[in-house]
């Protein structure tokens, strides 16, 4: 589904990713772990097409198409979802309006019929319930006045409504209390654990991986993947720290 080869990227002319390669097939859940400054968030933003993140070499292919050649909204329509580490507050724009526009823009781009208001609300209600989020919060402006945990939960509700093929979740576990972590973990499993979908989890800690079992774990250090393995690698990292493993 996603093939990254020898990816090099810079932020403000500073090289961050230095030859990263990764292959994710449909039906797989991958976790990328690594110390601060390793390039984890940069990887997610490069794949999401955020301005300011410049690819200097290498390629990323998503379902056979050149991902790096697409605009951010085209990547979304192609089935890529980026869960933000710091979801953005947008005063004045309600969650419901935002998500309906987003979903219908994607559907139009794919040549599908847009959903009516009623159809959309039905989906939204279902996903909000799945993530145990109050419908009232969906009517409020996007993330405005939400706690850190509520913002992350809102990201997962968005993911449920948009129903992507590939989700890249950047530290979705940070800022969550234990109950919210379980809810979010269950949400990821029920929305994304399908034979035709894939997930790339970016995280510092083992704890999210207790709820969302990865098939593969990779260690990212200094802009490259230095070690790959199964779920046991995450536990090793937790026990021994990055310094030893990444060395």
């Amino acid at each position: 589904m996603l093939t990254i080869e020898n990816l090099h990227a810079t932020v403000a002319d500073k090289p961050i990713l230095k030859g990263l390669s990764l292959r994710i097939n449909a039906g797989e859940i991958h976790a990328i772990m690594g110390p601060n400054g390793a390039g984890k968030s940069t990887l997610s933003y490069v794949l999401g097409g955020r301005p300011g993140y410049e690819v200097t070499d290498g390629s990323a292919t998503f379902d056979g198409a050149d991902l790096l050649d697409m605009e951010p909204h085209e990547r979304a329509a192609a089935g890529l979802f980026l869960g933000f580490q710091y979801p953005v507050e947008i005063p004045g724009v309600s969650n419901v309006q935002f998500l309906r526009e987003a979903l219908n823009a994607q559907r139009r781009a794919r040549g599908e019929e847009p959903l009516s208001g009623g159809e959309f609300l039905k989906v939204a209600r279902e996903k909000a319930a799945l993530l145990k989020m109050d419908m009232d919060m969906l009517k409020r402006p996007v993330n405005v006045g939400f706690s850190g945990g509520e913002k992350k939960r809102n990201e997962m509700v968005q993911m449920g409504i948009i129903d992507p093929k590939l989700a890249i979740l950047d530290e979705t576990d940070s800022g969550l209390d234990i109950d919210a972590l379980r809810t979010v973990g269950d949400g990821i499993n029920s929305i994304m654990r399908r034979p035709d979908k894939a997930v790339l989890l970016i995280t510092h800690y083992q704890r999210l991986l207790d709820y969302v079992q990865p098939d593969f774990v990779h260690v990212l250090a200094a802009g490259r993947i230095v070690k790959s393995g199964g779920p046991e690698l995450a536990r090793e990292l937790e026990a021994h720290g990055y310094a030893e493993i990444a060395a």
């Binding site: 909204h73 947008i90 724009v93 309006q97």
Partner: protein, 242 residues
Amino acid sequence: MVTTLPSRRDEAWRYSDIDAVAAAWPLPAPESIIVPAGGKFARALVQDAGEIRQIELVLGKGAAAALHVLNIGGAYGRIELAVTLHEGADFHLGAAQIGGGEQNLEIITTVTHAEPAATSRQVVRSVLGGTATGTYLGKVAVARDAQQTDSAQDVKAMLLNRSATANAKPELEIYADDVKCAHGCAIGELDEQALYYLQSRGIPPGEAKKLMLQAFVAGVFDGAEDAEKLQALALAKLGELV
């Protein structure tokens, strides 16, 4: 009322397109609206042809008036309000001016609290692209015995291009000593992070900008009788700019 052709030296015309003013000169007499004591008045004004509109509004004791203004049309569009408030009167202005290309749009207000206990609220939002100029000059004048005056000016402008210009000058002239006169002004650009966030969810760049600008302008038409029509006109104009 101005009888001779103004020049840029006059503060009220400083940012104006003087050539356009000269072409429209002499101006017809200002429209005069008098709301009697206890009366109510509401008007929505859409300036979409490029003209200079001058309105003198007098509110009698306890009268209330709400003006909603959408200033969007023509190379030069100016809306000038002179409002006089008598005791306990209430004036509300909700205005949006949206311009692109080389448009020069202005909203000039003078709100005089002539007697005690009147309230005035002005909310003005400007969205400017290209090399357009949007100006708000708003003076609140409080007479010596107009105690318990309560006035507020809330002015914000959004620049879509660095080549656009926004001028904002809320101005207070207060002779009474027991008044509340709030004024705030901000000029900014669309938040890049928010734009990217919207796009990352599949909304094309133009639509993302439109959505944010709609949110920026939303609210100024609250309470207008034909709020929906004004919103729709504003949205259509925003669509031309992004």
